[in-house]
């Protein structure tokens, strides 16, 4: 028994670390940080039977989860609604609307073109407003362009928006005024090129955090987001364009909704326990509302495609659906950040399965190969 050995060592004064005062001074100084507690005593020998009853040690019910007084492990985002969910929603709307606008221009759907382009620049701009409004120091917004960081989706997004809003604006202006059609066309192409990026980068933005429900959903989140964006853009088209021009909008909304619902479902399933935040609490309520609204919107839009009113109502429902999805994702993420179990349990499971997160494969030499672990994880 190590106890007794330790005690015995101490007693004999042999083999113990120690210093002696001698006539010549102090011998063998050891710093205080080398102190060890609980090695020099033993529990009283002869046993303390009444204190040591074996076999009664209860277990914490959920043995895989302990925490520090139920305090969250990560700090919850300080982002607030409506700024940030609005930013996510409007970005998606803008990006997809730019595509719709370009297509409408190409296929000669003037009303759809105009409303999509105006909607795109307005949404893009408001998205920016939401972002800036949420800053702790809004007057320092320009610092976003101080640096270009590929590692920061927000940086990438800021540069994107900085490029996108002027071209989307130019495209819209040309479409509305009919002036400078060639420049307008070029701007339209540019906006349509940047649009998909604007619609999708926000998925990377929220996934590139330690918020379990966001980060762990990074594989599906971009598809959820572009799907949601497409639904919104389609909805905008349905709401604003005459029935004759809404075909592509309806189709886009249909595709968007299908994509969104399918990938969302897949994401929730894959997330397992963490995915429950998407069906619980405030986040879950928004997500359910989004699903209902988008399904209702799409079904209504298809069935009522001849009715201007029905189309408009369904378009509005789709916009609301897209917004609700973003609000839902936003709040679900907050919920997952607030409860330590969403952080601890998956990590603990990883460890228990002997698959800790590592960077060991960085022995690879090429930069591209640095992605290997996540690829492997995906497989």
């Amino acid at each position: 028994m190590p106890t007794d050995d330790a005690v015995e060592r101490e007693r004999q004064g042999a083999g113990t670390p120690g210093t002696d005062v001698t006539k010549d001074g102090l011998r063998g100084v050891r710093p205080d940080r080398e102190a060890v507690t609980g090695v020099t005593t033993g529990r009283p020998r002869g046993g303390r039977g009444r204190r040591r009853r074996g076999g009664e040690t209860p277990q914490v019910p959920d043995a895989t989860f302990t925490s520090y007084y139920a305090e969250p492990v990560i700090n919850k985002p300080v982002w607030e609604a409506p700024d940030i969910p609005g930013y996510l929603f409007l970005g998606g709307l803008a990006g997809a609307a730019s595509l719709l606008g370009a297509g409408a221009q190409r296929t000669g759907r003037r009303r759809l073109e105009r409303s999509s382009k105006v909607g795109a620049v307005a949404a893009g701009f408001l998205s920016l407003v939401g972002l800036v409004h949420d800053l702790g120091r809004p007057q320092r917004f320009l610092n976003m362009l101080r640096v270009f960081k590929v590692t920061s989706p927000m940086s990438v997004g800021s540069w994107l928006l900085a490029g996108y809003i002027p071209v989307a604006g130019a495209a819209a202006a040309s479409a509305v005024t009919g002036r400078a059609p060639r420049a307008g066309a070029a701007a339209t192409v540019a906006a349509a090129t940047l649009g998909p990026a604007v619609a999708s980068y926000t998925a990377a933005l929220i996934s590139d955090t330690a918020v379990p429900a966001w980060h762990d959903g990074y594989r599906e989140m971009p598809f959820v987001f572009v799907g949601s964006g497409a639904t919104a853009a389609g909805g905008l088209g349905l709401l604003t364009a005459p029935v004759a021009e809404t075909g592509p909008a309806r189709a886009l909304a249909l595709a968007g909704t299908a994509l969104e619902l399918a990938t969302f479902e897949r994401m929730e399933r894959r997330l397992g326990m963490v995915g429950e935040v998407y069906s619980q609490g405030r986040g879950g309520a928004y997500v359910r509302a989004g699903t209902l609204l988008s399904v209702a919107g799409v079904v209504g839009a298809v069935l009522g495609r001849r009715s201007r009113v029905a189309s408009a109502v369904c378009g509005a429902a789709m916009l609301a659906a897209s917004a609700a999805t973003r609000w839902g994702v936003f709040h679900a993420g907050m919920q997952s950040a607030d409860d330590p179990k969403y952080t601890v349990v998956p990590q603990r499971q990883r460890l228990e399965q002997g698959e800790p997160a590592t960077g060991t494969s960085t022995t690879t030499r090429t930069p591209a190969a640095t992605t290997a672990p996540s690829e492997a994880a995906e497989a």
């Binding site: 101490e10 007693r11 004064g13 001698t22 205080d32 102190a35 020099t40």
Partner: protein, 872 residues
């Protein structure tokens, strides 16, 4: 220690790193316990039983360091046959006067010797001393005045040579008396009294004794957990007995270390702002008819040891204070010293305030409205003053009680009715003034002024100096005899102009230090108290500090880095006496002057050089050979032999048995606290029979029934007050600061889960704690660190009460000291706040008059009267 002195605790950790075992004995599991190897919870108030049990173990198993105790202690000294132990008298010693509640110590003496005096209570036997003029002052008043602090420098008066049996076999020798006295402190008894399981207790005994002796030493560390009891001095005495038996005094790694709570609390005892002492532990004179300097010295000082030179110390002090006015003809102005008549401690002062006799009050860097026992009485006392001066950094509770004190809320006081005139003067911080602190190791360290104080803030040096200057100016020309001491006072300190306050000057602290150090007839600085004369040719403000300004150099400001000197670090600051770091370190060598063992060498006799040498400065006459034996007519230091390490003691020995100097017995004996849940299992004597309570009877200070007395069940729980790492004492320096306030923002109490369940206390909720004095509320911290104890077959719970809070500052709450009573240690007059009885109930306390009513209801339920708990 980790709680209250974290930086000091690094040395405990260092010792652990070197293999030391750390045992923490405390009712609570604290930060210290967390790092200790063994935590031993014991019932608060039973330390003497615990330590006494270890003494019994040592004696019964002959684990004592025999050579050490034979040579260096009074183990072999034979006592008079009149002595009766607690064994004979069921818990009291011979000489108890039950009327006066005092002991006559005459029967505690050594065989064949005349009446002797000792350091603690030297004036006790003033009346008996041959050569003193008989007066009529009550010896009771003298005994009650108490001189616990005089232990600070030790000292004892002995006339004649005691009979000694070096074989320790004589039935009346101290060793045998000790053995009989502690024989009943068996492991079984320790378990029943203290709640410490026998196997744990045995382990402590074994660890301690195995680690003591020639090759090893053990140290004891205590704080106010020991002093704040009705038997506080005897707690420390018990440790002293044990450490003597084990040979752990005067040796490296040994000793008993008091961890004191304030930067210069040691200094304020050495240079005492205490009623019963003059600087350097010279007692304040008691009132005796026709007492002059000679009879004072005769009555107070011994023949042998350094205290034999008390006349030189006293005369030099009088010369420092009254300079040219102090002449041999006028007894060096000895008559200028005011005289004591009994105890005038802070608690008597409060009674005097309540009685209307004490009308003016200075509160200087202290917060009695929170920090003193039964703080309500402190506030009520202040409300009865004519004027109050508070000097502090912030508007502490002691300055603001008249507008926001608890009694305003209960309606017991009304601001408009309070006639006290209050002056609040902002104080300067240590960074704004020069001066020295004396730390808990008796080491003076100088702090230099960094900046001048701003606004009206001034140093207390400035305050004292200018107050004295103004008073002297106002009285200038007075012919009234009562003003002579003021007008003759030497008060002409050099000053420095304050740059930021034109016209204002600051006295020079170093000049004051020079006066404390003292000078010779030519005004040259002294370097040692051995140079002091009793003819008025030397002046010295505090003889034990003599040498701190030797060579005209401020030794307290020496700062040779630790890394550039040996491990004793004598070149950092200056420690009294004579810069010695380990007191009585002659005992680190055997009688022949050789270190007891190679690995425990500290000082030793170098035959070749015929000098004491070592790492530390020898606390011994450097050239005195171990083989020196004094001639029979020698006196003073010369009368000490080469084997007498305890140079302040009259016999040069350390005392296992204290024949004189303590008011409450020559040997520590376990008594139950003033308020206890159990009867004393050792004797029928329940409490310390001479504990100090009677002068304190007051309606706001009712005691509770104890043990099996009816009504005791109304207050079923033990309580202790204490400090935590996050705050400083009464909070004046911590609760007002955001960074500390946020660490412990509210008053809380600590209770075990068992107690919480028993009383329905909610974790992180509120509880009300009630005693016969007051009730307070606190947040509840339910923690397994508080453990129930089985005492005498009954499960007992402790309520832990940190006492830092008050109504002021950022971190607020009720003051635990409002619950405490005023039952004091008779030697030191320190209150018993480390153990009491209380009730605890869920929820917040009543507001307004209902708070007072709740306390009264408890008093009624417990049947409390003014006589409760005052039994002898």
């Amino acid at each position: 220690m980790a709680e209250c002195h974290p930086v000091g605790f690094q040395w405990v950790m260092e010792a652990k790193a070197r293999g030391a075992t750390v045992i923490h004995v405390d009712p609570r599991f604290t930060r210290t316990s967390a790092l200790a190897d063994l935590h031993v919870p014991l019932r608060a108030g039973t330390d003497i039983a615990f330590l006494g049990g270890i003494i019994n173990y040592v004696l019964a198993n002959e684990k004592d360091f025999r050579e050490y105790i034979v040579a260096y202690t009074n183990a072999g000294t034979i006592l008079t046959d009149e002595y009766r132990d607690t064994e004979d008298l069921d818990g009291v010693f011979s000489g108890l006067d039950t009327e006066e509640r005092t002991y006559d110590f005459h029967t505690w003496q050594y065989e064949g010797m005349e009446v002797q005096a000792a350091s603690g209570q030297r004036d006790q036997e003033y009346e008996d001393h041959p050569g003193t003029k008989k007066g009529r002052a009550s010896s009771k008043s003298v005994r009650q005045s108490g001189r616990g602090e005089a232990h600070g420098s030790g000292g004892a008066a002995i006339a004649g040579e005691p009979e000694v049996d070096p074989t320790l076999q004589h039935p009346r020798c101290v060793y045998q008396v000790l053995k009989r006295h502690y024989a009943r402190y068996t492991p079984e008894m320790v378990e029943q009294i203290c709640g410490v399981p026998q196997d744990t207790f045995r382990q402590v005994c074994e660890l301690l004794t195995d680690n003591s002796g020639r090759d090893r030493t053990s140290a004891f560390v205590y704080s106010v957990g020991w002093t704040q009891h009705t038997v506080g001095v005897q707690y420390i005495r018990t440790a002293a007995v044990l450490q003597q038996l084990l040979g752990n005094i005067g040796r490296p790694g040994g000793g008993i270390m008091a961890l004191r709570g304030h930067a210069s609390i040691q200094g304020s005892t050495d240079i005492p702002t205490l009623f019963n002492l003059l600087p350097g532990y010279i007692p304040m004179p008691h009132a005796h008819a026709h007492m002059d300097l000679d009879s004072f010295i005769e009555g107070e000082s011994p023949r042998k040891g350094y205290w034999a030179e008390m006349r030189a110390y006293t005369v030099s002090l009088l010369k420092a204070w009254w300079g040219p006015a102090a002449t041999p003809e006028n007894d060096f102005c000895f008559d200028y010293l005011p005289r004591l008549t009994g105890s005038h401690s802070t608690y008597e002062t409060v009674m005097a305030q309540l009685a209307g006799n004490c009308k003016g009050y200075f509160v200087l860097g202290e917060n009695p409205a929170v920090g003193s026992a039964n703080a309500k009485m402190q506030r009520m006392g202040m409300a009865n003053l004519e004027w109050l001066v508070v000097r502090d950094f912030s508007l502490i509770e002691s300055a603001t009680w008249w507008k926001d004190g608890p009694e305003i809320e209960t309606g017991e006081l009304r601001t408009e009715d309070i006639g006290t005139e209050v002056f609040f003067l902002p104080a300067a911080a240590h960074t704004e003034k020069d001066g020295s602190f004396t730390n808990t190791q008796r080491m003076l360290q100088w702090h230099h002024q960094a900046v001048e104080p701003a606004g009206d803030a001034r140093s207390d040096l400035w305050f004292a100096f200018h107050l004295g200057r103004r008073i002297r100016e106002k009285l200038a020309g007075s012919t009234d005899e009562m003003d002579r001491p003021l007008l003759d006072l030497t008060w002409d300190y050099p000053t420095t102009p304050l740059q930021s306050h034109p016209g204002d000057v600051e006295p020079e602290a170093e000049a004051v230090l020079a006066e404390i150090n003292g000078w010779d007839a030519e005004g040259g600085p002294l370097s040692s108290y051995e140079q002091l004369n009793d003819d008025g040719s030397t002046a010295c403000g505090c003889w034990i500090y003599c040498g701190v300004y030797s060579d005209g150099v401020n030794q307290a400001s020496r700062r040779t880095p630790a890394t550039e000197q040996n491990w004793v670090a004598n070149q950092w600051g200056w420690a009294w006496p004579a810069n010695r770091r380990v007191l009585y370190n002659r005992a680190s060598a055997d009688p022949d002057g050789k270190p007891w063992s190679a690995r425990k060498a500290l000082v030793w006799w170098d035959e070749e050089k015929a000098l004491w040498q070592g790492h530390d400065i020898p606390d011994f006459t450097a050239s005195k050979s171990p083989h020196y034996r004094p001639p029979t007519d020698a006196s003073g230091a010369e009368a000490l032999a080469g084997v007498d390490p305890f140079v302040m003691q009259a016999d040069g020995k350390s005392w296992l048995f204290v024949p004189a100097g303590l008011t409450d017995g020559p040997l520590p004996t376990h008594y139950e606290p003033q308020e206890s849940p159990v009867p004393n299992l050792l004797y029928s004597q329940q409490r310390n029979p001479v504990r100090q309570i009677l002068s304190m009877v007051h309606p706001d200070d009712r005691f509770q029934p104890s043990g099996s007395e009816p009504g005791a069940e109304v207050f079923p729980y033990m309580m202790s007050t204490y400090r935590i790492a996050e705050h400083h004492t009464a909070g004046g320096m911590s609760r007002y600061q955001p960074y500390l306030a946020e660490l412990a923002p509210e008053m809380f109490c600590e209770v075990s889960p068992e107690l919480a369940r028993e009383r329905g206390l909610e974790h992180a909720g509120w509880a009300t704690i009630v005693t016969a004095r007051n009730c307070i509320e606190a947040r509840v911290l339910v923690t397994e660190r508080m453990t129930p104890m089985t005492i005498n077959g009954r499960v007992l719970h402790h309520v832990g009460l940190p006492y830092h809070w008050g109504q002021g500052g950022l971190a607020r709450g009720d003051s635990a000291n409002d619950l405490a009573h005023l039952s004091l240690d008779p030697n030191s007059h320190i209150q018993e706040v480390k153990v009491g009885q209380c009730d605890i109930r869920p929820g917040r306390r009543p507001r307004g008059p209902a708070r007072v009513e709740l306390v009264k209801e408890y008093q009624r339920r417990a049947g409390i009267t003014e006589h409760t708990g005052t039994e002898i």
